[in-house]
Symmetry: C2
Subunit: 315 residues, 2 copies
């Protein structure tokens, strides 16, 4: 019986592993099929993780984490988790991709979320080198420059407003001429002078050179095209919450999730199921920043320690 | 008119400053009378801030933060803030210790909390060198060793339980023979074999050498004493929430606080007053860890940016 099972090896999962083991839990496993580090390892530059400075990539930032977080006994299992289910006794079964089943007193789910790609030419090639899915993370790198935003939902408009404060101009490329976003947000976008709406248009191709993106060609409904000379393209066409491990055989979720599939937690990262915690980008209201996910992981870990102790395990 | 006023210069305040200014807010001031860095700068060793490794002190950890966080235009005012009040227009006045008044559209309060000292001989001398007020932070440094815990409230007992998982033995020194803590917590403490209760006793003196603490002498109600050969003493005799800046002239608080004076926030660090946010150790359910406070600061900053934008400022 594990004291704690941690699903996912990004900043939240790694920090949860550090705090649970350093806090005295004996049998803690972090399940992460790939290399730990998470989504941030795809970023070409990060300058807003407090305390770590210099021109570093997301990969550089995460480099020391696995060793630091495993120093106190955290075990890394390089296997996918298919599902977490709860037994009648209130403990958890971790159904692994290799067919084995582990049992755990507590579980911290840190599987994150994945921004959707829009599917245009050059998108994959220039991802992290001019194409971004996070204005908070990368907007500043385009200070005083022109950028394009792809999308018409709430996130796209909010991120366009965020970018309009930093960038000289924001082209908002939307495939329709009406917006799904909240009317108030649409109004704010319309009254922001340096946002230009490019409507009834879809991205056709992003192009560039060895240094990164130099432009975006959009294609209108009538077949005409337009070239936007932008070094940065921000894509907000949806987000997949990686909650599959919480999906039960009958299609329900192990714990409460909201309409977008984000896990409902309180300030201490407790879900509505005792012993089950969530941390990082898959929870409600996640700011999607490394430092926030790491803070979540620490918070959830301290709760898991107290929970395991209450249950009389972990001595 | 400031876009955002940040009160306090610990990990939460610094990170809030980094995120607000990097996110495009133009006029942001962080008020911190002393050197930025916060309470952690008193720690002699920290090994659980993810991504920063090696044998470093709290001071070392915080060293690069001010430059990194002020790189994007954050202004540091070395002045105390006496009070924050709200105008009828919904903006805030920052009443400074030097008699000046600044106005701000949004405010992030990051003034933290201060653990009380018990007031025994050697306590100040060995603080950070064997005397600690945080089991999560420092417990691991006494792995397999004996430690003493001073106090009889909920926090003292919970921290004793936390330490009992890591340390070979925990002496729980309490001045009475009954506990104020929750009955369930008292029960768990009593059934933990490696916690020894030292009741009707107060700490008399902590002593040691250049390397740190070597023992604690406690004094019983009947005048007798006992020497505990412990290298670590954890003091949990209460915590002052630094909420004075929120106290209004009539004695009420600017926003909702709980019975302990901690600021009530939601997952996005919003208080019940629009435009007023709290981050770090002064909020409810704060885990009191650097990475958590920093995560709070980033979260509050992103909310402040959106709020300032909504109000039509900050362009």
């Amino acid at each position: 019986m594990l004291d704690c099972a941690i699903i996912g090896g990004g900043p939240a999962g790694l920090t949860a592993g550090l705090y649970t083991t350093r806090g005295g839990l004996k049998n803690v496993v972090m399940y992460e099929k790939g290399m730990p580090g998470g989504q941030i390892t795809q970023s070409s530059e990060i300058e807003n993780y407090p305390g770590v400075t210099g021109e570093i990539t997301g990969m550089d930032l995460m480099m020391p984490w696995p060793e630091q977080c495993q120093k106190f006994g955290l075990v890394h299992e390089m296997v996918e988790v298919e599902r977490v289910v709860r037994s009648e006794a209130g403990t958890f079964s971790i159904l692994r991709g290799d067919g084995k089943v582990d049992e755990a007193v507590s579980v911290i789910v840190c599987t994150g979320s994945t921004p959707k790609r829009a599917g245009f030419k050059g998108e994959d090639e220039f991802f992290g080198r001019g194409i971004s899915t996070c204005a908070t993370c990368d907007g500043f790198f385009y200070k005083g420059k022109e950028v394009a935003v792809i999308g018409g939902g709430d996130t796209a408009l909010e991120e366009a407003l965020y970018l309009a404060k930093i960038c000289s101009k924001v082209y908002l490329v939307h495939r329709r001429d009406a917006f799904r976003a909240a009317p108030n947000t649409v109004e704010r976008m319309r009254s922001t002078p340096n946002i230009e709406q490019v409507l009834n248009a879809v991205p056709d191709e992003v192009y560039g050179d060895a240094m990164g993106v130099t432009g975006l060609r959009v294609k209108f409904k009538d077949g005409t095209t337009r070239e936007l000379d932008v070094p940065g393209v921000f894509v907000f066409v949806g987000n997949d919450v990686n909650n599959a491990v919480l999906k039960q055989e009958d299609g329900s979720f192990l714990c409460k999730v909201n309409d977008w599939g984000q896990v409902v937690v309180d300030l201490s990262m407790r879900t509505d199921v005792p012993g089950l915690f969530a941390a990082g980008d898959l929870r409600i209201e996640a700011p999607k920043q490394v430092v926030c996910a790491a803070g979540d992981g620490a918070t959830a870990a301290l709760q898991a320690i107290a929970y395991v102790d209450e249950k009389g395990h972990g001595q």
